[in-house]
């Protein structure tokens, strides 16, 4: 069992959370001007890194707030968590 740090509630057991997949996906402002490839990329294509991954999580059974986390997909270790709207603790891209 993992212990996950909710940015509002503090450390809680994994069963209280649900994972919402990749974080920081921005909806295109003018979808009608996108190519099919770009639209498909926005809708369906997701990163699947081995190692550090930016994810969105929800404290489903607690405060019900969404937040962001950087998690290592190999070790399952949570590197950090931060609230929605807060800057990334450290700017990293793929």
């Amino acid at each position: 069992m993992l212990e996950i740090n909710c940015p509002w509630c503090g450390p809680r057991d994994q069963i209280e959370f649900s994972c919402g997949g990749e974080a920081h996906i921005v909806r295109p402002l003018e979808p009608e001007n996108l190519s099919d490839d770009d639209w498909a990329d926005y809708l369906f294509y997701r990163k699947n890194p081995e190692g550090r991954h930016h994810e969105q999580w929800c404290h489903t059974a607690g405060c019900r707030k969404w937040f962001n986390a950087i998690r290592n997909t190999v070790t399952y270790q949570f590197e950090t968590v931060y609230r929605i709207g807060e800057d990334l603790p450290e700017k990293t891209s793929r």
């Binding site: 503090g10 057991d13 209280e16 607690g62 405060c63 707030k65």
Partner: protein, 226 residues
Amino acid sequence: MNHPKITAVSPLVEHVDVSSQLGINGWRGVELEELAFCIHLNLRCDPSDSQALTAASTALGVALPLRPNTFHEASDIRIHWLGPDEWLVVAPTTDIHLVDKIVSAWTGFHHSVTDITGGQTVVRIQGDRARELFNHGCTLDLHHRVFKVGQCAQSLLAHVPVLISRRVDDANGTCRFDIVVRRSYADYLAKWLADSAEEIGFVNRLGNSQQPTSSNNRSQVSSASK
């Protein structure tokens, strides 16, 4: 709710299990009872809007707690932190005008007030061994140095979403927890509690709540808190 033909019914009315049992070594572990027919209000507003916060505390007589996982209490009204912009008010049955008070206080502010009175109930657990009961089905650390009086937390108890709050301890040092549970889960939770309290011993008064009348409901709520 105040319609004369509609009778308020506790979700535990069919549970009625007024029994007691000594646990191993003759323990009298916990007492289980229901604080039925309380008024439950879900409040939401922008926590950075200090005027809205002030208006709410003036109307309710209690300030909305801003520290995560805490509750404030005054004259039988308890306000629990549910999220950074969400609170749960639990008040005695007699406070039927509470919802009007907060709605009029928040007129003009960005807010939401939802009366969820019939949708959930409060189960009270008290006794020296109350924590052991939780340990059977809850991952929260409820040790008295971690989960202090005045703190509350939403979590899962026996897979059921609940709001657990640590209440004021009485003179004997026995600890007391209130569990807010949704109506549809209440009967299952009551059965689970009775089952899991078997080894530590219990007095079960769940399901014993009578519908309050206007004259006796306050005394009923306060007698339940003794």
